[in-house]
């Protein structure tokens, strides 16, 4: 159990290598092995989640291996580059989210018929990268896996995407590539500032990692941050660097235009992975590095975060109203939801941080569900254009019903995960920014407007599409829908199933940022 996180990364990678060795003709075999390669880590992730120790704030399931030592990297200090993993209350749910979303995406990918072998290989590498990003407990490890997600999703978009896939894939690559570069600068700056600060402070404070203060290990940095603080000016600069990376990575206004294009031009399985798991990285970075390691920076820019968040909420919602393509609508809806998370992180409250994790998980599940159902109907109607649809409840009652559940969940209906997330986020928001949060609540009304308006034109009303005789959900399609709906309702009805894990860490972070 101790090395479970290593297994999460190794199994998809080894499965990918195994598939590479297979003949591209053996599609059935490839599908089965690919599914297995994503299912087994998911089982491990869930087991790890179940065995997660709720009270402790330290990273759990730690694993680390030294990889490279760079002598005299800074002020006569040695830099140890290592692969290290470990999860806390924030990353544990996200690791499980990656597992669930990836397995369901693999099921969905059964419908891919072109270049099956490489599709599964890239999907597995993307899965590995996502596990690695959320399980990493070392700055280098984190960045390594972050880049691997970038490459694999680039190929997934550009090979199996829609009409303008090359445009979308290039845009995706450039935007996220720039974000990665900025993030890399931030990570290096973070490690070196901490090293310099620790060296200076070591005269008066006994630091955990003496005498080598240059460390990339996240738990060590967290241990340090409780004893010494970087100077405010340094924190502010570093925080701004991280914020810029997060704004691009998480597609906040005005750096968002890559997201709708990406979603519009990707196949459904890839969309589920991107919308369900990849799009959680940015805010995870903000929580992990911004809130945990740069508390003064977060305090200084809290208002900026809140303002940017509210702008994204309203902007995303308004553009979603005018969107004509379901996938663009979902993209803007997720921009709007993530804006709310930004507002709550800016509020620096424990409940806001807890709500942020809730919202990441909830919107991951709901976005995946929305993409899945929208994709499933498009398999039959051959269109994503909202205006061309109508009356789907007649021919596709199950898919339409689940789509309605997903839409209502996104609107924030109680009894589903979206509500408890929105509620926690707004409680946090109102505590610190009452006026801004009040403006942000407009997003709740607008969300109801765009989602229900789209639902009205898609599933209600007279039958519009020419194909009226369509088979409803197949057995393979039932699985993702049932699993996702179950989880969404489970979190909505009994939020402590998630809250127990997040609670301790959220409290610890909030205590550090003075919430």
């Amino acid at each position: 159990m101790a090395d479970v996180l290593l297994l999460l990364i190794l199994i998809p990678a080894l499965t990918a290598l195994l598939i590479m060795a297979l003949s591209p003709k053996a599609e059935g075999m490839i599908r089965a092995i690919g599914l297995l390669g994503s299912l087994v880590p998911t089982a491990f992730a869930i087991a790890a989640y179940a065995a997660f120790h709720h009270g402790a704030t330290a990273l759990q399931y730690p694993f680390s291996v030294r990889w490279l030592a760079v002598a005299n990297a800074f002020n006569m200090l040695t830099l140890h580059i290592q692969f290290a993993f470990g999860v806390d209350g924030i990353s544990m749910p996200l690791v499980v989210l990656v597992g669930i979303v990836s397995t369901l995406s693999f099921l969905r990918s059964f419908t891919v018929t072109e270049r099956v072998k490489s599709h599964y290989v890239w999907m597995l590498f993307l899965t590995m990268g996502l596990y690695g990003v959320f399980a990493a407990s070392d700055l280098f490890t984190f960045f390594f896996f972050l880049e691997s997600t970038l490459v694999s999703s680039y190929f997934l978009i550009s090979i199996w995407g829609g009409e303008r896939r090359h445009y979308a894939a290039t845009k995706f690559l450039i935007y996220r590539g720039v974000a990665s570069v900025v993030l890399l600068a931030g990570l290096i700056g973070l490690a070196y500032s901490f090293a310099a600060q620790a060296q200076t402070a070591s005269a008066s404070v006994v630091l955990p990692n003496a005498p080598n203060f240059l460390t990339l290990s996240i738990p060590q940095l967290i241990a340090e941050v409780q004893l010494i603080q970087l100077p405010a000016a340094a924190q502010n600069v570093l925080f701004l660097v991280f914020l810029l990376a997060v704004l691009i990575e998480e597609a906040f206004v005005p750096f968002h235009t890559w997201l709708p294009d990406t979603h519009e031009n990707s196949d459904t399985g890839t969309n589920m992975m991107i919308g369900g798991a990849l799009m959680k990285i940015g805010l995870y970075v903000l929580l992990r590095f911004g809130a945990e390691l740069l508390p003064l920076g977060l305090q200084h820019y809290a208002t900026l975060l809140a303002v940017l968040g509210v702008i994204s909420i309203l902007y995303g919602a308004l553009v979603a109203i005018a969107s004509r393509d379901w996938r663009r609508l979902i993209a803007f809806s997720s921009i709007s939801h993530m804006g709310l998370v930004l507002l709550a992180i800016g509020s620096m409250q424990a409940i806001g941080i807890q709500g942020a994790v809730f919202m990441l998980v909830s919107s991951g599940l709901l976005t995946a569900l929305l993409f899945f159902t929208v994709g499933a109907q498009a398999d039959r109607t051959r269109t994503f254009t909202i205006g061309d649809l109508g009356g789907l409840s007649k021919s596709l009652p199950v898919i339409s019903g689940v789509m309605l559940v997903a839409a209502l969940g996104s609107v924030g209906l109680p009894g589903m995960s979206g509500f408890i997330s929105e509620f926690s986020l707004f409680v946090g928001g109102f505590t610190t920014f009452p006026a801004l949060s009040a403006v942000g609540t407009l997003g709740m009304i607008l969300a109801a407007l765009y989602l229900l308006y789209a639902m009205q034109r898609t599933t209600f009303g007279p039958v519009q599409t020419l194909v009226t005789e369509m088979p409803d959900a197949s057995a393979v399609e039932y699985v993702p829908m049932v699993v996702l709906v179950f989880l969404v309702v489970l979190i909505g009805v009994y939020p402590d199933v998630l809250g127990n894990v997040v609670h301790g860490t959220a409290q610890a972070i909030a205590a550090r940022i003075g919430g």
């Binding site: 809290a302 408890i420 926690s424 707004f426 610190t432 609540t441 009303g461 402590d496």
Partner: protein
């Protein structure tokens, strides 16, 4: 019995799950049987609970931790159930009306190919409504509050293939959502200032004089100076009263949305696109009354702010007269009754606003009986005729004797003719308005009562008297339809006696923990006036529709503009679409344009510039190595000169 309270909402939920799991395979009789049985047991339990409460008083809430996000009790959200006299009453009313409507639907929905789905939704609704009623805290209340809204959405849009139904469902959800957001903010502000969602602790111990002790938003005075003043509204500067008023008004916005009060009343008449039992249950008897229930549950909050309660009273009074005047001219039988509902809910709000807590709740109960009755009777008529247009009916007294008799009872109750149920409760409210000094509101209520009697008897005369204008052979819908009608008819007739001024049983029951609000004293003169006004309304309807052909049309012509205004619902819908819907759509379109052409345009422009620049620079690569070398030499020369110039070498 109180220990079994949790079972009351859970039974319909269980029925929902059974129906959901078995899907379309289940036969109509089985589906209806399971549902009716579940609600019937709930009803029996509710009777027991009411008895318990009457005998032993309310019980302390039973709660379980639900979500932990902080330390201490403020950091733990709980769920559970609580029984007070108010809840117990609501449990009884909701389960009773639900049971009757479930029974009625068996006949009404017969043959619909989604019969089982209909009962699923109904069960989910009843579960949500009962859950709302027993909620011990505001958050759980809000959760069920939203759930009933969703059920309403699903049921209004039940016949999804009708574009009007789809549009009405969406409209209902979005308009109530506006109110819900107000309530949402109110709940959060209350929580932030009080550190709890529990109704009991929210209003402090019984020792607090006004029952309300919000301490001036001290928790809201957090480190304000740190942030830009622009984004920071300093609640700290507000005195407690202003804050209480703000919170109370926000909560009331939620009630406005749910109870279809002006200006958010527009969704309710459209919601009549749903099946008629739905209209009876959700849009007359139970869900729309949840707003009134909310105000009652939060009564101490409103009591603490005179401004807020005056607002409640004025909105209620205005809604009552506005909706009643629209109801006078509508052609659709269900719409008339829908406007009547809006109007009657206005009365209840008026009662709450002037402080007459018991009167408001009393009217809620009686209204639930007679309005459910009117809707079910209308449903019976629609079932028989397959039309909703009043001017295609007539003379149905012959064909539908039971429906006729019960409708008449309901109409008399609604008109406030003694001794029918509506008389006692409506007169209570009017007396309260008068004795508390709200003479204008009293006058508005009186005029609205006159209109009420007029429009409902207009419906009565157009439907049941005269000769039948259609060519069908209308007949009663069988015992499943007539039994609920008779039961409700009886209740509408005698239901008022639970709280006459001479024997205020209900008042005593609700105020078993001490007086709440203000109890109007009996006033014979005012009683006589309201009875006369009701009779006057009936007389007007009679003279217009029974005495002479075409008299009504002539009267309408003479009223001219007023008639047009009323017939077009005072153009509120059109006004909203002009000043809200259209601008939102336009702004969304503008933002979409901005997004595609300005923001993304800049991005693409940057790409284009890079590409064009690259193409331009490409041609400088001539392939002549010597040229490259020459350029390099100059580059080297420049670099060397710079180094020499800044003194790096020499």
């Amino acid at each position: 019995m109180i220990g079994l309270t949790w079972l009351v909402p859970v039974l319909p939920l269980a029925a929902y799950i059974i129906l959901l799991a078995s899907g379309r395979r289940m036969g109509e009789a089985v589906a209806a049987g399971i549902s009716v049985t579940a609600v019937f047991v709930s009803f029996l339990l509710s009777i027991g609970i009411v008895g318990d409460v009457a005998a032993h008083g309310p019980a302390a809430p039973t709660v379980y931790p639900w979500l932990q996000f902080g330390s201490g009790s403020a950091g733990t959200i709980t769920v559970g159930y609580q029984v007070t006299s108010l809840n117990a009453l609501m449990l009884l009313v909701v389960s009773l009306v639900s049971m009757l409507v479930f029974l009625f639907s068996r006949s009404y929905m017969r043959g619909d190919d989604r019969f089982s789905r209909f009962y699923q939704y109904l069960n989910l609704f009843v579960f949500s409504m009962l859950g709302l009623v027993v909620s011990p805290n505001l958050l759980q209340f809000y959760i069920f509050w939203e759930l009933v809204g969703v059920c309403s959405y699903l049921l209004v849009g039940f016949w999804y293939f009708k574009p009007e139904a789809a549009a009405a469902a969406k409209k209902a959800f979005i308009v109530t959502r506006i109110g819900d957001v107000g309530l949402f903010i109110g709940i959060i502000l209350l929580y932030l200032s009080r550190g709890t969602f529990d109704f009991n602790t929210l209003f402090g111990a019984a020792s607090a004089p006004s029952g309300m002790m919000i301490h001036a938003a001290a928790p809201l005075a957090y480190a304000g100076a740190k942030f830009f003043s622009l984004w920071y509204i300093p609640f700290a500067g507000w005195h407690a009263g202003a804050f209480v008023t703000l919170v109370a008004l926000l909560v009331f916005i939620g009630a406005i949305g749910k109870s279809a009060q002006f200006p958010l009343h527009v969704w309710l008449p459209d919601a009549m696109e749903g099946p008629t039992p739905v209209s009876a249950l959700i849009h007359a008897a139970t869900m729309v009354a949840a707003g009134v229930y909310l105000v009652a549950r939060m009564f101490p909050l409103f009591e603490a702010s005179a401004t807020a309660s005056e607002t409640v009273a004025v909105i209620g009074g205005f809604t009552a007269i506005l909706a009643a005047s629209i109801g006078l001219t509508q052609r659709d039988i269900k719409r008339v009754i829908a406007y009547s509902t809006v109007s009657q809910l206005g009365y209840m709000m008026l009662a709450m606003g002037v402080g007459a807590y018991v009167s408001g709740m009393f009217h809620l109960v009686t209204h639930a009986f007679f309005k459910a009755l009117l809707f079910l009777a209308a449903g019976s008529v629609i079932h028989a005729l397959d039309t909703q247009d009043l001017f295609e009916m007539g003379g149905l007294r012959k064909y539908l004797p039971v429906t006729h008799a019960t409708f008449l009872a309901g109409a008399l109750a609604l008109s406030g003719i003694p001794p029918f149920a509506g008389f006692w409760s409506k007169d209570d409210i009017l007396t309260a308005a008068f004795t508390s000094g709200h003479y204008v509101l009293y006058a508005m209520g009186l005029i609205a009562a006159f209109f009420t009697a007029a429009y409902i008897f207009r419906v009565y005369f157009l439907t049941f008297s005269g000769v039948y204008k259609g060519d069908r052979h209308p007949h009663e819908g069988g015992p499943a339809m007539t039994i609920p009608l008779i039961a409700l008819g009886v209740l509408a007739t005698i239901g008022g006696f639970i709280n006459t001024p001479f024997a205020p049983i209900l008042g005593n029951f609700l105020q078993d923990q001490g007086p709440i609000g203000f109890n109007p004293p009996a006033n014979w003169a005012l009683m006589a006036v309201s009875a006369l006004v009701g009779l006057g309304g009936i007389w007007l309807a009679y003279t217009l529709y029974r005495t002479e052909e075409g008299r009504a049309e002539r009267f309408a012509q003479r009223a001219g503009g007023l008639y047009t205004l009323s017939f077009n619902k005072f153009y509120v819908d059109e006004l909203y679409s002009l000043i809200i819907v259209l601008p939102v759509m336009k702004i969304a379109g503008i933002f979409q344009f901005l997004d595609r052409w300005i923001i993304d345009g800049i991005v693409r422009l940057a790409g284009e510039i890079g590409y064009t620049g690259g193409v331009g620079v490409k041609y400088s690569s001539t392939g002549q190595v010597q040229t490259y070398g020459l350029v390099t030499v100059f580059g080297l020369a420049v670099m060397v000169l710079i180094v020499i110039g800044i003194g790096g070498v020499i």
